[in-house]
C-alpha cells in the first residue's frame, strides 16, 4: 500500500552553480534538465563543462521526460540525518531516454517493502528557499500510477 509522502521540515540544499544550475532549478518550470552533448548526442550526469565521452565542449542541459525505472534502491533504516526520519527509499533511476544515465534521488509515495528493481517512476519537484541560500527545486521520484487498463488485466495484481 502506498505511503503518502510528507515534506520534511528541513533539508540540506545544494548551492547551484555553473553547469548544475539547470538541474537544481529546472523544476521551477516542472522540467527535469539533464546535460547532453551536442557532438555525440549522449546525455550525461552530473553536468560538467565537457562531455566525458567525446570531450566536446558543446554541451548544455536539455529537458527530459522525467520518467524512468528503478535501476537499484536501498531503504535506510537508521536516523543518520536528523532531517530525514527513517525509513526512506534511496533510489537510482535510469532515464527513459538513455538508461545508462542514472539520477540519484529519493523514491516517495511508496511502501518501502513494495519497491522492486525495474519499477516505473516519474519525477516531481520539491521547492526550497533556504534563508541566506539559493532557491532550488529538488527532483524527487514517485511510482507511475498504474493505468486503468493495466489494473484490470486478469491475473495481474491491482
Amino acid at each position: 500500500m502506498a505511503q503518502t509522502y510528507t515534506r520534511p521540515d528541513f533539508r540540506l540544499t545544494p548551492t547551484p552553480e555553473g553547469d548544475d544550475v539547470a538541474f537544481w532549478t529546472g523544476g521551477e518550470d516542472d522540467r527535469l534538465m539533464v546535460h547532453r552533448c551536442r557532438s555525440c548526442e549522449q546525455y550525461f550526469h552530473p553536468p560538467a563543462p565537457a562531455c566525458f565521452r567525446c570531450r566536446s565542449r558543446d554541451v548544455a542541459s536539455e529537458p527530459v521526460s522525467g520518467r524512468g525505472r528503478v535501476a537499484t534502491f536501498t531503504v535506510n533504516r537508521q536516523p543518520w540525518l536528523p532531517t530525514l526520519p527513517p525509513p526512506y527509499v534511496i533510489v537510482l533511476v535510469e532515464l527513459e531516454e538513455q538508461p545508462d544515465v542514472r539520477i540519484f534521488s529519493q523514491l516517495v509515495d511508496v511502501d518501502p517493502a513494495e519497491v522492486r528493481i525495474g519499477d516505473e517512476v516519474e519525477v516531481f519537484f520539491e521547492h526550497w528557499a533556504p534563508e541566506g541560500g539559493t532557491e532550488v527545486w529538488l527532483p524527487l521520484f514517485r511510482p507511475v500510477p498504474p493505468s486503468v487498463d493495466a489494473a484490470t488485466v486478469p491475473g495481474e495484481e491491482a
Binding site: R11, L12, T13, P14, T15, F44, H45, P46, F52, A71, T72, F73, T74, V75, N76, R77, Q78, W80, L81, L84, Y88, I90, L92, D100, V101, R102, I103, F104, S105, Q106, P112, I117, V136, L138, L140
Partner: protein, 386 residues
C-alpha cells in the same frame, strides 16, 4: 626491474583505541614490524617510507611518521587512495625498490576512525567518500553506496541474504584465533538475518565495525634481502584500477570494474592467474562486497559467488580460504591500515607463522576497493621468487 622482497611485517591490535593517537599507533606497528625481521633491522637502513592514511587526526601524516619513528633523514610520502590506500602504499614502495632507487622501503598504514563519535563519523568521514553536493540533499549515507550495488547484485545473481550472512559468519569464525582482531566472537546465519537493518539489504552483522589501528611492512631489493632473512616473501604483482566515482554511469552495478582492472594488472605482473592463488584477503567492508569480489578477482564465474561461499571453499578448511584474518568484517577496518594489515596476515601465512596456518601456501592475494567503488588495489605475494 628488480625483484622485491617483504622481510618484515607487524601491526597493532585493531580496536577502539580511545587512549592512543596515530602518533602512538604508528611507532607501535613499526616496532612490531622491526621485531619480525629475522636478522634484525637497523632503522638507519630505511631509505624511504610511504605512509597510507585516509584522514589525519594527529597532524600532517608524513611529519608524524618521521617524528614518531625517528626517521628524520629519509623522504616520507603520504598516500591517500580511499579504502585502497594500504595496498596502494605497498604498490608505491614496491615501485621504488623495483626501480633501483631504494633498497629498503618502509610501508605504514594507519587510521583512527573512532577519533570521532560514531554519530558524527558518517558526517566527518563519509564526506570523503563521495560527491556530497550531489548526494546529501537526497539522503545517500555511507553504507547506502554499497547497498545500491548489493541490491542490484542480489536481484540479478540469485544470491540471497543468507549467502551474504555466510560471509559474515565465516569471517567472524576466522577472527577467533587472531589476537589482533576487533570482533573475536562467533555469530550464526540466523543472528545475521535477525540483526537490525542498517540500509537494506545490510543488517548490522553485514557491516564492518569502525576501527583504529596501524600496520607496517618492510620491502627490500633482492640484492639485500638475505641481510634481513633467509625466508623472504616476494611481492610478485601490484595493480591499481579506477572507475567513475558515482553510480550515475556505472555500466554494471553487479561488478566493480576497478577490482577487475587491478587484479588483471597484478596477475599479469606476477605471471599467474586466479587459479594459482592459495589464500586471499578480500575487501569485505560489507558482506556482499566479498561475494562480488570473488567474481571480480576471478575466483569463480560471474554470479558464481553464492555457490562458492555455500560450498565452503573460502573457509579455513576449504580449497581457497578467504579472509583468514577475519577480514574487515571481524578483524576491523581502519582504512589506511587495512590494506597493509592484509599484507601482514599474508606475510605470516606464507612464512608458516599465521594463527590460522594453512599447509604450505605459495601464492597469496590482498585486495581493497573503495572511494566508494571508484578505486581498487591488488597485491600478490609469493614464497616463489620467479
Amino acid at each position: 626491474m628488480r625483484r622485491v622482497a617483504m622481510v618484515g611485517a607487524g601491526m597493532t591490535e585493531f580496536k577502539e583505541h580511545f587512549d592512543l593517537g596515530i602518533k602512538e599507533l604508528v611507532p607501535m606497528a613499526v616496532s612490531e614490524m622491526a621485531a619480525s625481521v629475522d636478522k634484525g633491522l637497523d632503522r638507519s637502513d630505511i631509505e624511504a617510507a610511504w605512509f597510507g592514511e585516509l584522514t589525519t587526526s594527529d597532524g600532517f601524516p608524513a611529519g608524524i611518521l618521521a617524528d614518531s619513528c625517528g626517521l628524520l633523514d629519509i623522504p616520507v610520502t603520504r598516500v591517500e587512495n580511499a579504502c585502497a590506500t594500504g595496498n596502494d602504499a605497498v604498490r608505491n614502495a614496491m615501485y621504488a625498490v623495483a626501480s633501483g632507487i631504494v633498497d629498503v622501503a618502509l610501508v605504514v598504514g594507519a587510521d583512527k576512525v573512532r577519533e570521532s563519535s560514531s554519530r558524527s563519523t558518517f558526517w566527518e568521514w563519509a564526506a570523503l567518500t563521495r560527491d556530497v553536493a550531489w548526494d546529501y540533499p537526497l539522503g545517500l549515507v555511507a553504507p547506502a553506496n554499497f547497498a545500491l550495488h548489493a541490491a542490484r547484485y542480489l536481484h540479478e545473481s540469485g544470491a540471497t541474504r543468507e549467502h551474504m550472512a555466510m560471509v559474515a559468519v565465516k569471517n567472524h569464525r576466522h577472527a577467533l584465533t587472531n589476537p589482533k582482531a576487533q570482533l573475536r566472537f562467533e555469530i550464526t546465519v540466523e543472528q545475521v538475518l535477525r540483526a537490525p537493518t542498517v540500509v537494506e539489504p545490510f543488517g548490522l552483522y553485514d557491516c564492518t565495525p569502525q576501527s583504529d589501528g596501524a600496520a607496517a611492512v618492510l620491502l627490500v631489493s633482492e640484492e639485500v634481502a638475505d641481510r634481513y632473512t633467509d625466508r623472504p616473501v616476494w611481492v610478485r604483482g601490484v595493480g591499481l584500477g579506477l572507475d567513475r566515482v558515482m553510480h550515475q554511469h556505472k555500466q554494471d552495478m553487479t561488478s566493480f570494474p576497478p577490482t577487475v582492472k587491478a587484479a588483471r594488472a597484478a596477475y599479469a605482473m606476477a605471471g599467474i592467474g586466479p587459479a594459482d592463488i592459495d589464500v586471499a584477503e578480500v575487501h569485505d567492508c560489507f558482506s556482499a562486497v566479498e561475494l562480488i569480489s570473488y567474481e571480480d578477482l576471478g575466483f569463480c564465474d560471474r554470479f558464481g559467488a553464492a555457490a562458492l561461499v555455500e560450498s565452503g571453499a573460502t573457509t579455513f578448511e576449504g580449497s581457497r580460504p578467504v579472509n583468514l584474518s577475519g577480514g574487515l568484517k571481524a578483524k576491523g577496518h581502519p582504512p589506511g591500515a587495512t590494506g597493509v594489515s592484509q599484507n601482514v596476515e599474508l606475510f605470516e601465512q606464507l612464512r608458516g607463522d599465521a594463527h590460522n596456518q594453512l599447509d604450505t601456501p605459495t601464492y597469496a592475494l590482498a585486495h581493497n576497493i573503495g572511494g566508494p567503488t571508484a578505486v581498487s588495489a591488488v597485491t600478490i605475494l609469493s614464497t616463489e621468487k620467479d
